[in-house]
């Protein structure tokens, strides 16, 4: 059962960053005049060299810190359980079993495990790990841990999922597999994602919009639409369309590195 998504350009707005600036310790300008509109159903990649403020942008959206100036507005205000987050490390609690890790967002809202068991197991099933619900994180491979982390981020069906280079530490094969599965998952549950990466190929494969950022000061220098339709599969990786988008994104990235240098 695939989710119906409005075409790019006809989607309702979810979140807007306007003229956002973030300065650390008075002089490190991590973000300068960042503007970004996130629409419902978007899969946005933030692509840029390291140090260009990608993580800072995510942390601002997550509300982990306040912008020095500018605004971040949620359409209809931000409510409980609107956010799911996946970090570069799986960030699981080693003392808790897989299912109890996925239970965490509900638990923080005071829900007992038995009352949300179905949701937890469904999320684990979506990432292909329902057989491992009672395992402990140390028994899992890196890729499997990351799947648990993804299950935890989506179990409450948040309006927005933030992913900060989630697959950067994985080997290429696992990474391709997780990219495919992430897209399949999105077709099932229709989530909105902001995905931070410094890989051109990953950003082209996954997203419908690529936001290219430059460093010093961190800012958006280019936005590219990837018009290729979903679902995308392995065949897409070798298509001319993919190569063309990768070339455009790669050019933009090089431009980003040049303007910063």
């Amino acid at each position: 059962m695939a989710i119906q998504r409005a075409p790019l350009g006809e989607r309702d707005e979810l979140l807007r960053m306007s003229h956002v600036e973030k300065t650390f310790r008075g002089d490190v300008v991590a973000l300068k005049n960042m503007n970004l509109v996130v629409n419902q159903g978007d899969f946005i990649s933030l692509l840029g060299p390291s140090g260009c403020g990608k993580s800072t942008a995510l942390r601002l959206i997550a509300g982990l810190m306040r912008p020095t100036s500018g605004q971040i507005n949620w359409q209809g205000g931000q409510g409980e359980g609107d956010l799911g987050v996946v970090f570069q490390e799986p960030t699981l609690m080693p003392w808790a079993s897989v299912k109890h890790n996925v239970w965490l967002p509900y638990r923080m809202r005071g829900k007992s495990y038995s009352s949300v068991k179905d949701e937890v197991l469904h999320a684990l099933k979506l990432v292909g790990l329902e057989k491992f619900q009672n395992a402990y994180p140390r028994e899992l491979s890196g890729g499997m841990k990351m799947r648990v982390s993804i299950a935890r981020a989506m179990v409450t069906k948040p309006r927005l999922i933030l992913m900060d280079e989630p697959f950067a530490a994985l080997d290429e094969i696992t990474r391709h597999k997780l990219n495919n599965d992430l897209l399949a998952l999105r077709e099932r549950i229709g989530c909105t994602v902001i995905f931070v990466t410094h890989s051109v190929f990953e950003s082209v494969f996954l997203s419908d919009r690529i936001v290219v950022m430059a460093a010093r000061p961190g800012r958006v220098i280019r936005e590219l639409d990837v018009t290729a339709p979903y679902p995308r599969d392995e065949a897409f990786r070798t298509s001319p369309e993919y190569a063309e988008h990768a070339r455009l994104a790669s050019d933009a990235l090089h431009q980003a590195i040049e303007v910063a240098a």
């Binding site: 997550a62 509300g63 982990l64 409980e80 970090f87 960030t91 080693p94 808790a96 923080m108 809202r109």
Partner: protein
Amino acid sequence: MTQVDTTPILDAEEEAHAKREKLIKLARWTLPSLVLFLTLASWQAYVTIAEVPHYVLPSPLLIAETLVKDWEILWPALIVTGRLTLIALILAVIGGVGLAVAFTQSKWIEMSLFPYAVVLQVTPVVAIAPLLQIYVDSAFVAALLCAWIVAFFPILSNTTIGLKSADHNLQDLFTIYGATGWQRLRYLTAPSALPFFLGGLKIAGGLALIGAVVAEFVIGRAGTGLGLASTLLEASYRFNFGRLYAALILISVMGVVVFALMSLISHLCLFRWHESALKRE
């Protein structure tokens, strides 16, 4: 999912390896036992042949005999020392963990009190004990305080570090999910601190026993009742070296039991998830 083949492949090399493992396992018990036996045997032989008087060095057989003969005195003494050790350890856990939580909740409390915890720790307890005896009315409380002072510091310092060692990303995640202070302590900081706390507990168990022995020596039977250490001391006054050695052995055995108990508790708490309890193939 990938299939894991679990049938053992036993070729010659593996068989040799398995044999070696078996041998090592056997040696782990037999070697120390052998050393013990040889030591006792030569000790016995030396005492018998050189006709060493029993008030200089009692023979192992005499000690064993005394252990049985004086059991009616030694067993109650063991209970007394054991009780003092256990109560001191429990109070050390309560005090150490309580203070550690207070330290992590407020920097001000930590700044005000931590130096004094260190001072208490570095001042030799043998030097403090006589003072305690003077200022604290109840000799039992004085003895308890004495053992407590020695035991609580490793728990305090380990737990404090543990409570601060929670993963930063998990901290952020808890913030994003709107965790309350209590939820954060209960589900994140406390479990992160657990392995550290248990490490402190292992040290504190041994120290509580040392503290109890020092208390018995310095404060004496007035406060603690006749414990193993006071029994040992009295036996030495009377040149009853058989009993002295018997009491000494029981103190060592108690130390080993306390350590084994703390290790067991630690294992039970950690074996499911912690890296330290992981057996690598």
